[in-house]
């Protein structure tokens, strides 16, 4: 197992180097002068320009600049945001829990509905439930989620007035973050009204973000289940006279879930891409909105480091999924 883990980590090294090269190259590929680009619309005085050039090391040969950049990143120095003047890593740390909370609940929504629906569709293969579920899943899979979000706002916030239009929690609630999850923090402080506010802000964005994963998970669960239900050991279990529920719930499900776990893991990239749109629509203060805002503010230090940090997260999660996969499926480890 340790060898497998080390092997997987070693495979990531070229990607890791590549990611840093991409982030490094980004600022230098921007049209025009990188310092002027970073300074934004106001520009800089010539003396300050030279100073900045020294400071950022743009007078050095390109490979030395890269080595310097890697050195900075490795020590946790991701630069300072041009617009807020705060260290990028600090901003990231305050915003990331919001994205994490949103993604977490989106994934819960997708799994809680997707896995049982997929199982049921597989068991009742060809029934009207199966057909309409697969039809719905295809619609979900084809959904432009930014539009879906707007529709939900029109209906639930505008027409019914049930949920707030944007934000993460009512403005009247303010407390120090413990976990960074508003829903959990408000409970830890025992503030029920704050919890309700946080939850009502969370529902629509989580549904929007969870829609595509839900469709993918339902489809994947169904086909994994169908495959397993055709296996010999399932037939044996049935032949032994076990109840249908036991055969499906115990014998088949355990094996069907293996590919489903991988699918769930692979949705992380989709989730983060979806978070960019979802957070923009609902003004959710997470890293997706942060990236889009920074692009428009021409805060390229944030864009550069955000790109790097997000890619690192995706990479780390993929590694965890790989390892989890090996834990539940010993056959993989040998390979």
């Amino acid at each position: 197992m340790l060898r497998y883990l080390l092997h997987k980590i070693a495979l990531l090294i070229p990607t890791l180097v590549g990611i840093t090269i991409c982030a490094f190259a980004f600022v230098r590929l921007l049209p025009g002068d990188p310092i002027l680009a970073m300074a934004g619309e106001h520009g800089v005085a010539p003396a300050r320009y030279e100073e900045l050039k020294q400071q950022f090391g743009y007078n050095l040969p390109i490979w030395e600049q890269y080595a310097r950049y890697v050195g900075e990143v490795a020590t946790g120095d991701f630069g300072v945001s041009i617009s807020s003047k705060r260290p990028v890593l600090e901003e990231f740390k305050t915003l990331f829990p919001a994205t994490l909370e949103l993604s977490f609940f989106a994934m819960i929504f997708a799994m809680v509905l997707g896995v049982p629906a997929g199982i049921f569709a597989a068991v009742k293969r060809g029934s009207w439930f199966d057909q309409s579920l697969m039809g719905t899943a295809l619609v979900g899979y084809s959904m432009p989620i930014f539009w879906w979000g707007l529709l939900l706002i029109i209906f639930f916030s505008g027409y019914l007035g049930w949920t707030p239009v944007s934000g993460r929690i009512g403005l009247q609630f303010f407390f120090k973050q413990i976990t960074g999850f508003m829903t959990i923090d408000s409970l830890l402080y025992g503030k029920w009204d704050a919890f309700r506010s946080a939850l009502s802000h969370l529902v629509l964005p989580a549904i929007v973000l969870g829609t595509i994963p839900l469709a993918v998970i339902a489809r994947q669960t169904r086909s994994a289940m169908l495959e397993v239900l055709g296996e010999d050991y399932v037939r044996t279990a049935r032949a032994k006279g076990l109840s249908s529920a036991r055969v499906v719930g115990v014998h088949a499900l355990r094996n069907a879930l293996i590919p489903v776990v991988t699918t769930i893991g692979l949705q992380v990239g989709t989730l983060l891409a979806g978070a960019i749109l979802t957070e923009t629509i609902f003004a959710w203060p997470g890293i997706g909105k942060w990236m889009v805002d920074s692009i428009f503010k021409r805060d390229y230090v944030v864009v550069q480091s955000g790109l790097l940090l997000i890619a690192l997260i995706v990479m780390a999660v993929n590694l965890i999924v790989d390892v989890l996969y090996a834990v539940i499926n010993p056959r993989i480890r040998a390979a």
Partner: protein, 303 residues
């Protein structure tokens, strides 16, 4: 003598191709959804082609007497503007019809670019293996390490906002899928007897790659191409929605949504119809994709 050898394969070839198509259509038409999807897609192509004839107005004509007019069936609406008007008095139906041109153009251009790039890189990697393979596939892995929309966003930031740059960025992001597919297929086909035979007969690298191996990898490529077509439309609309794709007043559906956003609570139709157009288009293409997969690739067939 030479004449008969020229003619023989031709004569044998054409009915063969016809039965090939018949088998394909047989499997494709079993899938009712795929046929519906194809029908909708054809309608969309027609709408795009004949937009100037079908649309009651030009896409950028503003009627200063009719801002945010609701659709015909709602109180306050009239048959003058069937789907209502937008905040500056443009006919939504006309803009949607013209918008079909952009979405189909985006899909076609992106798939062409991504296919060309992906096939070239995949062929080179799978055929030559060794360091060529390692170098190409590492770069593909790298592209896939970023969430696609984020990478497209960043690329558009570098290239500058606009429809063409958005298409370039999306092609680059979608291209690794093709490269991986082609590489895997080439590796599987490379040691087959017919390839070895062609090699022994003296075929060069380029001929082996393009004429001998590539045609046998087409089925999965067509399926992936269809799915990328719909993906491209979605991503381009997302970029347009974020303000980094097609720029207003282009009647691109995502861009239309972006400019309608502030009116969502006042005028539902400004937001609803462009998104519905995106959904229907993407859904139709995905349905066709499912059908193509069933018909072309028995291994991938939906259970």
């Amino acid at each position: 003598m030479s004449q008969s050898t020229e003619i023989a394969p031709m004569a044998a070839g054409s009915p063969d191709r016809l039965t090939g198509f018949k088998t394909f259509w047989h499997y494709f038409s079993v899938n009712r959804g795929a046929v519906i999807g194809l029908f909708v897609f054809i309608l969309l192509v027609l709408a795009a082609l004949f937009a100037p004839l079908l649309a009651p107005y030009a896409p950028d004509v503003q009627d200063k007497t009719a801002f945010l007019r609701p659709p015909a069936w709602q109180a306050g609406g009239s048959t003058q503007y069937l789907l209502g008007t937008d905040p500056v008095g443009r006919d939504i139906l006309s803009r949607l019809l013209y918008g079909a041109r952009f979405s189909l153009l985006i899909g076609a251009v992106v798939v062409t670019l991504a296919l060309t790039g992906g096939i070239t890189l995949g062929l080179l990697a799978g055929y030559f293996r060794g360091w060529v393979d390692v170098a190409i596939m590492r770069v593909m892995d790298l592209i896939l390490a970023f969430p696609s929309l984020l990478l497209a966003l960043v690329l558009v930031t570098i290239l500058g906002p606009g429809l063409f740059n958005a298409m370039l960025a999306i092609s680059l992001v979608l291209q690794p899928h093709f490269a991986r597919l082609v590489r895997a297929a080439v590796m599987a086909e490379k040691s087959r007897e017919y390839v070895v035979a062609a090699k022994v007969a003296g075929a060069g690298h380029v001929r082996l790659m393009l004429a001998t191996i590539l045609p046998n990898c087409l089925a999965p490529l067509i399926v992936q191409g269809t799915l990328s077509f719909s993906n491209a439309i979605l991503e381009a609309a997302a970029l347009g929605f974020l303000g980094l794709g097609a720029q207003p007043p282009t009647p691109e559906w995502g861009t239309m949504l972006a400019s309608a956003r502030e009116f969502i609570l006042r005028a539902w139709w400004v937001v609803t119809f462009p998104g519905l157009a995106i959904l229907i288009t993407v859904l139709a293409i995905n349905l066709v994709g499912d059908g193509l997969r069933d018909a072309l690739d028995p291994k991938l067939r939906r259970s």
